[in-house]
């Protein structure tokens, strides 16, 4: 069971959270929507990075403070590398 550090509540068991999906997918603006092709829209709607490695994703502390936040998590080891607030860009996780 993952141990996720809610930026507000601290570490809690995974079952208190709900998984969202890949983070940093910007919703096209109305102007973009009006000019983009169906294929481009499909890209926004459905296409996912699904990386084997570090995944930037969002979670919500649904059984706690109801806050959404971002997580950088390794999809092979399940190691949580970083938790960072909504709105913050994906961290640069160059090897230290």
């Amino acid at each position: 069971m993952l141990l996720i550090s809610c930026p507000y509540c601290g570490p809690r068991d995974e079952h208190e959270f709900s998984y969202g999906h890949e983070a940093h997918i910007a919703r096209p603006t109305l102007e973009q929507q009006q000019t983009m092709s169906d294929a481009e829209w499909a890209d926004y709607l459905f296409m996912r990075k699904n990386p084997k490695g570090v995944h930037f994703e969002r979670w919500v502390h649904s059984r706690g403070c109801r806050q959404w936040f971002n997580v950088a998590r390794h999809t092979v080891t399940h190691e949580i590398i970083k938790v960072y607030p909504m709105g913050e860009p994906a961290p640069n996780l160059e090897q230290k």
């Binding site: 919703r27 929507q33 983009m36 959404w68 080891t77 399940h78 909504m86």
Partner: protein, 1004 residues
């Protein structure tokens, strides 16, 4: 009842003053308090205890612990019958009833044993090659195969016992209560850390329980254990759990453990039977010890063939000889300790057969000094005796150790103990997906680097460190270090000391002990006892190209039995490595998976049985419904009143009565389960514009509006009425099932996409109980109990709301309708809900006010063609498909799902549309889900154009009514379509969905 013929006069940790009666296969025996079933059977001279999985070979006890592959026993009877339990881990209690398994008619005479005679025809994977004829013959053969397989027999009665679950937390978790683990717990505990120590055995001590004369800190080892136990018990932040197996090492240092609370007391004990612990530790110390490997020699599965360390445990711990005369076969020094202990206990050791050319270690010397013969450079080539070892053949090994030479020595004995070296118990380490590495000195896998995020360390035998003093020191250091790391600075004391063991000579790896015949052509060299996998099977897998260990495992089923290969996996993969000419680490291990030992299903469920499987949510007046005979319907977790049958009424009667009364006069329904969300902030209206498809800016305070929400894919996912309370304040309602989903949806968009928008969402679903009065007389009823407002059409028009009092209680009423009839939705505080409901009921008495349930509610809304999200929709319908083109805010720039509506398939005009269906025969009520075709054929396949989403008898239209989604349906009005189902075909006409107008007209 015979005497315990193998019981030693003295010694062991059993209490000879407390005899315990038990039965095995119907026969009664005595053992002593402190015995395991295995030790008690051995004491009574019972060596044949079971039959193997495939060949039904007679089998005896092999080990004295969790690794037992053979002695699988059925414990208990009736609803408590439990198959496949390991005899060495069953503690004896008075009245214990046990039986052997996988035999018929009896253990002694098992018809299935013909498999053994035919075993030549049943090599690994034989079933893949046979039973292929005739084409559908497998179902026939399968019956027999299934019956032969499957070991024990499960009970078909409900398990009567109860189980418990608990969460735990600690700084340091120690798994294994041997010397290393105890030392770790002591050090961490003394330093002040919160510690949990678990051990699967009934008492602490680990391997020390099997020792004869070891001492620690100058006192007998078990005295040291007792002192440590007392010290640990006195530490308030230390918890010691015996009879507790850590069976799974999960993400982020969580260990699942099962505590056996009453299994050793028997069915009469009170309290839960077992408890599931989910313990989150900051650091885990794995002190899980090691498991001895048997040697793979010919006929090594005869009852009486046992691990050398197990023999030692039986003698030292249980005061029981495993037999009367023992031969030991070994490739290392540790088995000599067994010989010495046997000699000390007066059990006859006929000889020690050593695979090594010239063993000269201290223990070997000591053994010789005791007058026990050591036959070096030799192998056991045969074990005779079908149901009990009678004799072994011993021959000399050739120079390369690959074959045997010279004459045969026959040695009479009833027990053969073997030791092929020790394998650290790396299971939990490996479950974290950390690697193991091959240690060339130990010829065993030891733990490799740990995984990131999994803070653990292996110590003692679990790490391949076998000296007692070293185990104590390592354990101590690991415990102290962990405590230090977490800031606990009390003195951890110093490590306990022990004398060093005499130096041992290296082990001689010999993965198959040769016999006088080629492997597979004489006796059988068993590798995996339980699943009957032999060295010849490994060779066959190799020959047939199943080379990877994973293929080897699956093709031969080696390591897949209930012991998960604890004694066999390394032997098997080493044999494969030899065949492939590879190093053992190159071949690798199979994957270690939870559980370490099998865990009862019941304990995972814990106490959450029956109604606790999933909470039942109840409305504030649930009890009233129950008292008035309501049948309930599950809607999500809610239980909602479905209909209220009166005496003698069928469901159909009751629903018709409720529907009719509502249309004719007045009905009342408990709609408290509707989702309600309070929305406040200057951007509230902007937000509603984004999440609903229609426009909200112009809605005035005091007014209500209906809307659809779509996913970004354009498909409807919820609907409801939202009311403007004040300029910046809205009250949203959602479907019952959608309440939680919609709130998180709003929060997600707000927090993630539009965080600058000033708006707050709060669930108020349960702040209000909701009672909807419907029907022409609803106003008259309400008038009698309402105060503070004028209910007239002019003062309180449709699609508006008012605050007021009802029956003296603060209330909010919405003039919205889900029936098409005059309707008032009365919202009141739940604590007064019953009071208000009763007041409405008495006010309505003169109008025959009728409570109705969800079924009538469905009929009433269907009569007017109102949709239910989740019934008319299934995640593939747009608002346009449902005929709500008008609800799409054309002028509105953006809303969630808008862009998707423009995609080529979504924008098609001939998608499936929601329409009405009128059966040709008005009496015929279609089943919901019935499929619709244009052209009926004699038999399927037929092309379907849609299906029925809702269908009822409408007492008001006095005919059957249905809604359906049909391809291009709106452009097919009046067309007759067909519904083939349940062996008949019903014709129906596509119509509009207002059945009180159109349906009634159609009837006329």
């Amino acid at each position: 009842m015979s005497a315990q013929k193998n019981r030693l006069a003295t010694g062991g940790r059993i209490d000879r003053s407390r005899p315990v009666r038990f039965t095995f296969d119907g026969k009664a025996y005595y053992g002593y308090q402190g015995d395991s079933l295995a030790s008690a059977l051995l004491a009574n001279g019972v060596t044949l205890v079971g039959r193997s999985f495939k060949y039904h070979r007679p089998r005896g006890i092999v080990s004295a612990g969790a690794e037992e592959p053979n002695a699988l026993i059925e414990v208990g009877t009736g609803n408590r019958r439990e198959p496949n339990t390991r005899a060495p881990q069953i503690e004896l209690y008075d009245g214990l009833t046990t039986a052997s398994q996988n035999r018929w008619p009896s253990l002694d005479f098992d018809l299935g044993a013909v498999n053994s005679c035919l075993s030549r025809f049943f090599p690994s994977g034989f079933y893949y090659k046979t039973f292929k004829w005739p084409k559908d013959g497998w179902l026939f053969y399968e019956k027999f195969i299934r019956r032969m397989a499957g070991l024990g027999t499960g009970s078909t009665e409900a398990d009567p016992d109860r189980y418990d679950k608990v969460y735990g937390h600690c700084d340091v978790m120690v798994v294994g209560g041997g010397p290393a683990g105890i030392a770790a717990a002591l050090a961490a505990g003394r330093a002040g850390a919160r510690v949990v120590l678990v051990d699967e055995q009934s008492e602490l001590g680990g391997s020390l329980l099997s020792e004869r004369d070891r001492s620690i800190d100058g006192k007998p080892a078990m005295d040291w254990v007792a002192a440590a136990e007392a010290e640990l018990a006195a530490m308030p932040e230390v918890k010691v759990l015996t009879r507790t197996t850590a069976f799974a090492y999960l993400d982020a240092n969580m260990l699942s453990c099962v505590e056996r609370i009453t299994d050793h007391i028997g069915p009469n004990a009170s309290g839960p039977r077992q408890r599931l612990w989910r313990i989150r530790a900051r650091e885990v110390i794995l002190a899980t010890g090691s498991i001895e490997r048997p040697l793979v020699y010919s006929d090594n599965d005869r009852p009486g063939c046992m691990l050398a360390s197990a023999g030692r445990t039986y003698v030292n711990r249980y005061g029981t000889a495993p037999g009367q005369r023992v031969v030991i076969l070994t490739n290392n020094d540790t088995a000599y300790q067994t010989a010495l202990d046997f000699a000390a206990a007066g059990v006859s050791v006929a000889a020690v057969v050593d695979l090594r050319a010239n063993p000269q270690g201290a223990l070997v010397q000591a053994t010789r000094d005791k007058g026990i013969e050591v036959i070096a450079n030799s192998a056991i080539t045969h074990v005779k005796g079908a149901k009990q070892v009678k004799e072994v053949d011993v021959m000399s090994l050739s120079a390369d150790g690959k074959s045997v030479t010279g004459g045969v020595r026959h040695i009479y004995c009833d027990t053969v103990l073997s030791s092929g070296g020790w394998q650290p118990t790396v299971h939990l380490h490996s479950q974290t997906r950390a690697k193991v590495v091959w240690n060339e000195e130990l010829h065993a896998f030891v733990p490799g680097p740990v995984m990131p995020g999994q803070n653990n360390v292996s110590v003692g035998a679990a790490k391949g460190v076998f000296g007692l003093a070293d185990c104590l020191a390592e354990g101590h250091e690991a415990g102290a270090e962990a405590a230090r790391r977490f800031g606990f600075t009390n003195a951890a004391g110093s490590a306990a000391g022990a004398e060093a063991e005499p130096a041992a000579e290296p082990l001689r790896p010999m993965w198959i002990v040769p016999s006088d015949k080629p492997v597979g052509q004489g006796g059988k060299h068993f590798v995996d006892y339980q699943n009957d996998v032999t060295a010849a099977d490994v060779m066959l897998a190799h020959r047939e190209g199943y080379l990877s260990v994973e293929h080897l495992k699956r093709y031969t089923t080696m390591g897949m039995a209930t012991d998960q290969g604890k004694t066999s996996n390394v032997n098997a993969l080493a044999i494969m490595a030899g065949l492939r000419g590879m190093n053992i680490p190159e071949v690798g291990t199979t994957t270690f998976r939870p559980p370490y030992t099998p865990v009862t299903f019941g304990v995972f469920a814990g106490p959450d049985k029956g109604d606790f499987l999933d909470p039942i949510r109840k409305t504030p007046i649930h009890q009233w419904h129950a008292d008035h005979g309501a049948a309930f319907e599950c809607v999500g977790q809610w239980h909602r009143a479905w209909y209220y049958p009166k005496a003698g009424e069928s469901m159909h009667d009751a629903v018709n009565r409720e529907v009719k009364a509502t249309r004719d006069s007045v009905g009342i329904v408990d709609a408290s389960t509707l989702g309600k969300i309070d929305i406040q902030g200057p951007d509230a209206a902007w937000f509603l514009n984004m999440v609903y498809t229609n426009a909200w800016t112009k809605l005035e305070p005091g007014k209500c509006r209906y809307g659809f929400m779509c996913g970004e894919d354009g498909m409807v996912f919820d609907d409801g009425v939202t009311s403007r309370i004040a300029e910046n304040h809205f009250h949203m309602t959602t479907t019952t099932g959608g309440a939680a989903r919609v709130l998180s949806w709003l929060e997600e968009w707000h927090q993630c996409e539009w965080p600058d928008r000033k708006v707050y969402f709060t669930s108020v679903t349960e702040q209000w109980a909701v009672f909807a009065l419907n029907g022409p007389n609803s106003r008259k009823v309400l008038e009698k109990v309402v105060s503070g407002i004028d209910l007239s059409e002019e003062a309180f028009p449709f699609m508006s709301w008012r605050d007021c009092e009802v029956a003296g209680v603060k209330a909010r009423i919405f003039r919205i309708s889900f029936t098409g009839a005059l309707s008032f939705e009365v919202n009141v505080p739940p604590s007064y809900a019953l009071h208000v409901w009763r007041a409405l009921m008495s006010a309505g008495e003169e109008f025959n006010i009728t409570p109705y349930g969800t079924e009538a509610l469905h009929v009433l809304r269907a009569e007017k063609g109102f949709v239910i999200v989740g019934q008319e929709t299934d995640g593939t319908m747009t608002p346009q498909d449902l005929g709500f083109e008008w609800i799409i805010g054309k002028a509105k720039p953006d809303f969630i799902g808008r862009r998707s509506h423009l995609r080529s398939d979504t924008a098609r005009p001939d998608r499936k549309h929601l329409v009405g269906l009128l059966t040709e025969n008005p009496q015929e009520v279609l089943p919901e889900g019935a499929q619709i075709v244009e052209h009926v054929k004699d038999k399927p396949p037929m092309t379907m154009i849609g299906h029925v989403t809702s269908s009822y008898w409408s007492p008001n239209a006095n005919r059957s009514i249905a809604m359906a989604v049909i391809k291009n349906g709106r452009n097919r009005m009046g067309q007759t379509v067909y519904l083939p189902y349940d062996g008949k075909v019903v014709a129906a006409r596509i119509a509009k969905t207002d059945f009180l107008q159109d349906g009634a007209a159609a009837n006329a």
